[in-house]
């Protein structure tokens, strides 16, 4: 379970380390611990290097911007929550243990829970709740996919090693020459470099305003159903090109259609997601095709999985009436703060210093990575350890079916978010 550690030299080296810094959860990293710094030796990417390499600085709790003892910070946090009618537990970038403990606290205090990436997540959730989907997971993609259609995403912006680990590098189990995989991009300003095949083949791209991708997918459904389409162009793409793409998709043995809900920043982006999902379902009348929703950063998948099994709903859940109530709009972080419905905010962000907690106009408690800075100092800031660096834990990969163990690589002298939340709960 624990990574192998070479203790004989002053540098301790950990192998098979899980990286918590994006939804891919690569677990093949080698990380060295030397002179108080962690360094990625193998298997990393820029994001991993920055995340592991973040200096482990001494971290003092702050109350109203001033250094304070941990106990004083905990007591102040408890006082804020005690006084609140509807506390909002937001950010929620934490590991399984952290999420479990916050949900218990939210249940007891009649609060609301939401995730910092809730706006993106809700687009997928609403599609699942309304019509469902057909999806696949990473090992299936790596071994089976012969055609990958990227809708408004390049994957690498969120998961730098996506192509390296899943597309070009792998052997495939099923007599598939992975070098001959077909990649197609639809969208704008996508980084298609990684989509170039090892033999130099450039992936075709159909330039399209991302806001029109729903329409484009709708027309693809129509073309697949052999319905007449009058318009010559949709979203900037010639219908003849879409027709050719649909023909390729029909001929795929195992096609995958990928999107990143967080990047579909449109009003009712869930309708775009749904159209993608319906297109995938349509294709399954003829061949095998699956969707792959990308995401999972900052513990998003972890949060929605734990929240779903403990409450029944994946996010934006209020315990204000004593039992879980889900409302995708009323219980969003933005609406709760803008409407003044929430009167306290606890912001949890253990993996990254960004995004900052939103401007709140209510007392704010932050449990976050050391070294966070704020435009406005929160009432309470308690630096906590990063799961996978400072303490062990578990995280869900973005395809939701795989849960990786996280390791403790160094002694940072930082409590975990889980420990602090328990202390606050005890102080209530």
């Amino acid at each position: 379970m624990t990574p192998s550690q070479d203790a004989s030299s002053p540098t301790a080296t950990w192998r098979n380390v899980t990286c918590p810094f994006c939804g891919l959860l690569c677990d093949d990293l080698s990380v060295a611990h030397q002179d108080g710094r962690l360094r990625v030796l193998e298997g990393g990417c820029g994001r991993a290097e920055a995340g592991f390499g973040h200096p482990c600085e001494p971290a003092t709790p702050l109350v109203d911007g001033q250094a304070a003892e941990l106990d004083a910070a905990v007591q102040r946090a408890a006082a804020i929550l005690r006084a609140a009618r509807l506390p909002l537990y937001g950010g929620m970038g934490a590991d399984v243990a952290g999420v479990r403990t916050v949900l218990e606290l939210a249940d007891r205090t009649g609060g609301v829970v939401d995730h910092m990436h809730g706006d993106g997540m809700i687009r997928n959730i609403l599609a699942i709740q309304d019509a469902g989907w057909m999806v696949t997971t990473l090992t299936e993609l790596a071994n089976r996919a012969d055609l990958l259609v990227f809708m408004g995403t390049d994957a690498v912006t969120h998961c730098p090693r996506f192509f390296e680990r899943l597309i070009w590098h792998k052997e495939s189990m099923f007599d598939l020459d992975t070098n001959r995989r077909q990649i197609v991009y639809l969208g704008q300003s996508l980084d298609s470099g990684p989509g170039h095949a090892p033999d130099g083949r450039a992936p075709p791209g159909l330039a399209c305003d991302p806001a029109r991708l729903g329409e484009v997918a709708g027309v693809m459904r129509a073309l697949l159903a052999e319905r007449p389409v009058q318009a010559p162009r949709v979203g900037g793409i010639a219908v003849t090109e879409l027709q050719a793409l649909v023909e390729r998709m029909k001929k795929a043995r195992y096609g995958v259609l990928l999107w990143s809900a967080g990047d579909l920043k449109l009003p009712h982006g869930e309708l775009t997601v749904q159209t993608f999902c319906e297109l995938v379902k349509d294709l399954n009348r003829l061949t095998r095709f699956s969707g792959l929703p990308l995401g999972g950063e900052d513990g998003a998948t972890t949060f929605s999985q734990v929240c779903t099994w403990q409450t029944g709903f994946p996010l934006r859940v209020s315990f204000g009436s004593g039992h879980p109530v889900f409302d995708p709009w009323r219980f969003s972080t933005t609406h709760l703060l803008e409407s003044g419905s929430a009167d306290a905010l606890m912001w949890i962000s253990t993996f990254a210093a960004e995004p900052e907690p939103p401007a709140a106009g209510v007392p704010v408690i932050v449990l976050g990575r050391p070294g966070m800075t704020f435009a406005q100092p929160p009432a309470v800031y308690i630096p906590v350890g990063t799961p996978g660096l400072d303490h062990a834990g578990q995280l869900f990969r973005m395809d939701s079916v795989v849960t990786l163990p996280l390791q403790k690589l160094r002694e940072a002298g930082l409590p975990s978010a889980d420990q602090i939340i328990r202390a606050i709960q005890a102080a209530l």
Partner: protein, 555 residues
């Protein structure tokens, strides 16, 4: 502390006790023999009450990826069934796919003390055990799903010997902390990924060329060789397909006398007769079960109402997606191991097919003679929510109630069924077999399902009632590990149960081909696939109980 339960009527079929008035003594979480003169610290007056061991549900989908997907798909079902928090209990909701705390509380309120998640995808083991750890009140266990995993299919296609298969199966049981092996549509979940839309027992998988029969036989052999107490727990081919009774009978024959458990056999007992080309073959299946003593079944009764079907059988779920009600559904291909499909479903009593499904389940219960080999399940949530058990028990025990309901369902279906002419009524003793003694025995749980000295003190006390649904819905007392946890349907104390596992011997050399497979093809490290005990012990909240396998390692 010595606790005495005085004067109850005890039903303990493992010890052939059929309603005798007996006192029970509990100490340190176990039932102990009469301690003679020892001072009793606490006494419960159970005169006039019925005492059984705690209920055991050996097939209920309560944890893991597809269950969570089911929860995600049914916000409307959750909204209709909220559960508020109390000073003792957490809040939650749901009926067909309840949240984990609610699942545990409801089972305890109903007098169940152990539940088994029957379809754990091995790569999803960590997630499954996390959900089960958040399921209070009950002991739990998991069955590891094999049969469409590419590692196994590659072995079979390459002609691997039985020893290698045995080692792989044992390794998987260890790695996933499971108690049994589950097989779902063997080779069929894989076949669907190759665009194969059906797979009969003797039909080869489009890529591997291996048949479900071959897969089933190799896995049945493995489980037997390893001495795992529970046989292969099989969700057979052609689930839900009219005429699939033939497949089921062929599958029984394919076992060639080795122990085999057919799960939710109701879904596999269909004929294709009549105007609607859909009929009951329950009598034929019951006869086969009666004559083949190596076969055990659980019924998977359907109940009228809204539920959700959540299954590893992607092929069948995709096939059935047109029947989704409400009209939404999902399918997932999973990690070169398995798949899943979640399809909400409403069973309607006026619908010919649904009414006949209801009838078929009841016919199976009433026509299979040996209560030790026909266990009581609704394949929660596929047939119904587990909270329908008291209603189902009433149907089995009360012929007149059953026939009253029969008169209200779709008339064409009722006319095709022999149910109205079946007089049999289950006794309390037999119900105790179906719901506790039988499951304990066929899972190999030797210290539960009974009330003899040494048994774990998981005990349910019912107030006798003519209306058996009322009786079984609200036990008077429920004891878990010797503590009172529920009284008249109200949780008294929140406890956390143990996880039951088996650890058959195996040759660790199997890790060499496994490691190579993971390195070449997988997106996760082999080291991370395997669970550690500390993950189930969960900082003291959990415990592990290891059950012995029957034979030593066979080279």
């Amino acid at each position: 502390m010595l606790i005495k339960l005085t004067g109850g009527r005890v039903y303990d079929p493992i010890h052939h006790i059929n309603g005798e008035v007996r006192d029970l003594y509990l100490r340190d979480g176990r039932i102990v023999a009469d301690p003679g003169q020892a001072a009793v610290d606490q006494e419960y007056d159970l005169r006039g009450k019925v005492v059984m061991a705690g209920g055991i549900d050996l097939h209920t989908h309560i944890g893991g990826g597809k269950v969570n997907i089911g929860r995600n798909m049914l916000p409307e079902d959750h909204r209709r069934h909220p559960m508020a928090h109390t000073p003792l209990t957490r809040s939650g909701c749901g009926h067909a796919a309840p949240s984990t705390f609610v699942t545990g509380y409801r089972y305890a309120q109903m007098g169940y003390t152990a539940c088994f998640e029957p379809a754990m995808v091995p790569i999803n083991a960590r997630h499954t055990h996390l959900e089960l750890a958040d399921t209070p009140m009950v002991d739990k266990g998991t069955y590891a799903l094999l049969g469409s995993d590419d590692f196994l299919l590659r072995m079979l296609a390459q002609g691997a010997d039985q020893k290698a298969i045995n080692d792989y199966v044992a390794w998987t049981l260890h790695a996933t902390r499971s108690i049994a092996v589950k097989v779902v549509n063997p080779g069929g979940i894989s076949a669907f990924k190759f665009n194969q839309r059906k797979l009969d027992l003797d039909e080869p998988n489009a890529y591997y060329g291996v048949t479900p029969r071959a897969i089933l036989q190799r896995l049945t052999r493995a489980v037997t060789d390893l001495g795992v107490p529970h046989p292969v727990h099989l969700h057979g081919c052609n689930l839900g397909v009219p005429g699939n009774a033939d497949t089921t009978l062929d599958t029984i024959a394919a076992a060639e006398g080795l122990p085999l458990h057919l799960t939710h056999v109701q879904f596999h007992s269909y004929g294709a007769e009549g105007d609607f080309k859909f009929s009951s073959a329950a009598a034929r299946i019951a006869e086969a079960v009666n004559h083949n003593r190596n076969v055990t079944v659980d019924v998977g009764q359907v109940m009228f109402g809204q539920t959700v079907t959540a299954s590893g059988d992607t092929m069948a779920q995709y096939r059935n997606h047109r029947h989704a009600s409400p009209r939404k559904w999902m399918c997932m291909d999973i990690e070169c191991e398995a798949g899943c499909g979640v399809v909400p479903f409403r069973y309607r009593d006026q619908n010919f097919v649904n009414a006949l499904q209801w009838l078929i389940g009841l016919e199976l219960f009433l026509l299979i003679q040996d209560p030790w080999r026909v266990l009581l399940t609704v394949d929660h949530p596929n047939g119904a929510a587990f909270t329908t058990y008291p209603h189902l028990i009433r149907l089995l025990m009360d012929r007149s109630y059953r026939n009253d309901l029969l008169a209200t369902i779709n008339k064409s279906a009722a006319a095709m069924s022999t149910l109205g002419s079946i007089d049999r009524e289950y006794s309390l003793y037999e119900i105790a077999i179906l719901t506790r003694a039988g499951p304990a025995r066929i899972l190999g749980l030797t210290d539960r399902g009974h009330l003899g000295p040494g048994a774990v003190a998981d005990i349910t006390v019912y107030t006798e009632h003519d209306n058996k649904e009322e009786m079984f819905a609200r036990p008077a007392y429920v004891f878990k590990d010797g503590e009172l946890v529920a009284k008249d349907g109200v949780i008294q104390k929140v406890v956390w149960g143990a996880t039951h596992v088996v650890r058959p011997n195996y040759d660790p050399a199997i890790e060499k081909p496994l490691r190579e497979y993971f390195e070449r093809y997988h997106t996760m490290r082999l080291e991370h696939f395997k669970l550690g005990d500390e993950e189930l012990l969960d900082d003291g909240r959990g415990r592990i109980q290891v059950h012995p396998c029957a034979v030593g390692w066979r080279a």
